[in-house]
């Protein structure tokens, strides 16, 4: 109890002393995160922490389930019976005139457990290191660390943290920013392709039509250059295939 009070006091002191937005996560978020990890530690006997550095002059984001936000993990009194898991990483922002792009990397350092979680597990739940260079870097870091106890339990190293539903919610609090259509989110690429195909059909037709010279677009007249039919009353020449005979004698006269 005394230890908990001392830790709480130390946390409040750290929050008060920290400059505004010194790290990626706000002091309030770091405190909430450390508290959720501490609750998980109580259920699982696994200690959790995070340590993510950056190159933009702010101090590293550090915290743990034992010592709270702003303090590295120290195993006090053998609390970590089933092991320790720490998310480590670095965020590198490229300078404005540099050709290199921003980058970030994370790793999971675990000890004392047979089947520790991996970075691939984080990616499997949609948490990628590259998102640490985005606008929601604080949320991404929070989510990565917050997911560790679930990943540890999923791999059989410890029991799941008990799920407790909220029983009282302030009346003013409600969900906001309602998501768009599920159908569009699932199938927008196919819907877009099909719509483009339909729209392209008349465009294709009229484009091709415009390339035909105007005098060729009208209906072609009936052909008039067909071979003329014979109107002579003369009988057609003999078509006999037999041997022809020609008279060579004098023409009889009357």
């Amino acid at each position: 109890m005394i230890r908990a009070l001392l830790l709480g006091l130390a946390t409040l002191t750290l929050i008060a002393a920290a400059p505004a937005h010194a790290q990626i996560m706000s002091p309030e978020d770091a405190t909430d995160l450390a508290q959720s990890l501490a609750d998980a530690q109580e259920d699982q006997d696994v200690c959790y922490g995070w340590e993510v550095s950056n190159n933009f002059g702010a101090g590293p984001d550090i915290g743990s389930s034992i010592a709270g936000p702003g303090a590295a993990m120290l195993d006090v009194g053998g609390s970590c019976k089933r092991g320790k898991v720490v998310l480590t990483g670095s965020i590198d922002y490229a300078c404005d005139s540099c050709e290199a792009s921003d980058s970030a990397s994370v790793s999971i350092e675990a000890s004392g457990m047979a089947n520790p979680p991996t970075v691939a597990d984080l990616e499997g739940v949609g948490l990628k290191a590259g998102d640490l260079t985005g606008d929601n870097d604080d949320t991404t870091l929070f989510n990565m660390v917050n997911a560790l106890p679930l990943l540890v339990a999923d791999r059989g190293n410890a029991p799941y943290v008990e799920y407790e539903r909220a029983t009282t919610v302030p009346a003013a609090d409600r969900a906001t920013n309602k998501p768009g259509s599920d159908l569009l989110r699932d199938s927008w690429i196919w819907l877009l392709l099909c719509a483009m195909l339909i729209a392209a059909a008349p465009l294709f037709f009229f484009y091709k039509r415009s390339q035909i010279p105007p005098h060729k677009r009208t209906k072609k007249p009936d052909r008039t250059d067909a071979p003329p039919t014979s109107t002579s009353s003369e009988p057609p020449p003999p078509t006999s295939t037999g041997p022809t005979t020609t008279s060579t004698g004098p023409t009889p006269t009357t």
């Binding site: 830790l7 405190t31 609750d39 799941y160 196919w190 392709l193």
Partner: protein, 150 residues
């Protein structure tokens, strides 16, 4: 009919058929979960009563929490998701799917399907401030304890 007209008609026809197929083949999230997992029961959804409210549907999955959440999100991409120490939460247009530990220490996971209000109320500790407003108590760190007494 010219060759170009035939090609244009084929393009439009393929596009129309593709639209019809895409729209008709899109199944609902609730139907797919009901088809893929074993129903356990239902309960009154948290939050205010209303004519548009839907009961919470409860299912069991033999797979782990993250694998079950992945299977569902692979089939129906969520608009947002949270993976926390106690479960994975998927947010859709009208529904919230919570994949949480099973009761009684059994294996696998439990799936709760709520409407938006029910999901927000039920998981307020986990999604409050992320998917909506949060005016809960701003706690100070209380320490993880020694793990004794369990």
């Amino acid at each position: 009919m010219s060759r170009h007209a035939v090609i244009a008609l084929v393009m439009a026809g393929v596009g129309a058929l593709g639209l019809i197929f895409t729209l008709s083949s899109h199944s609902s999230l609730r139907d797919d979960i009901a088809k893929d997992y074993r129903p356990i029961g239902k309960e009154k959804a948290p939050g205010n009563a209303g004519p548009d409210r839907k009961d919470t549907l409860i299912y069991a999955s033999p797979k782990s929490i993250t694998q079950t959440a992945k299977d569902i999100s692979d089939k129906h991409k969520p608009a947002d998701r949270r993976t926390t120490e106690a479960g994975a939460f998927l947010r859709y247009s009208d529904d919230v799917v919570s994949v949480v530990p099973p009761t009684g220490g059994t294996r696998g996971s439990r799936i709760l399907v709520d409407d938006e209000e029910g999901g927000y109320h039920r998981n307020y500790f986990f999604v409050g401030g992320f998917w909506g407003t949060y005016s809960g108590p701003a706690g100070s760190f209380r320490g993880g304890g020694s793990g004794a007494g369990k």
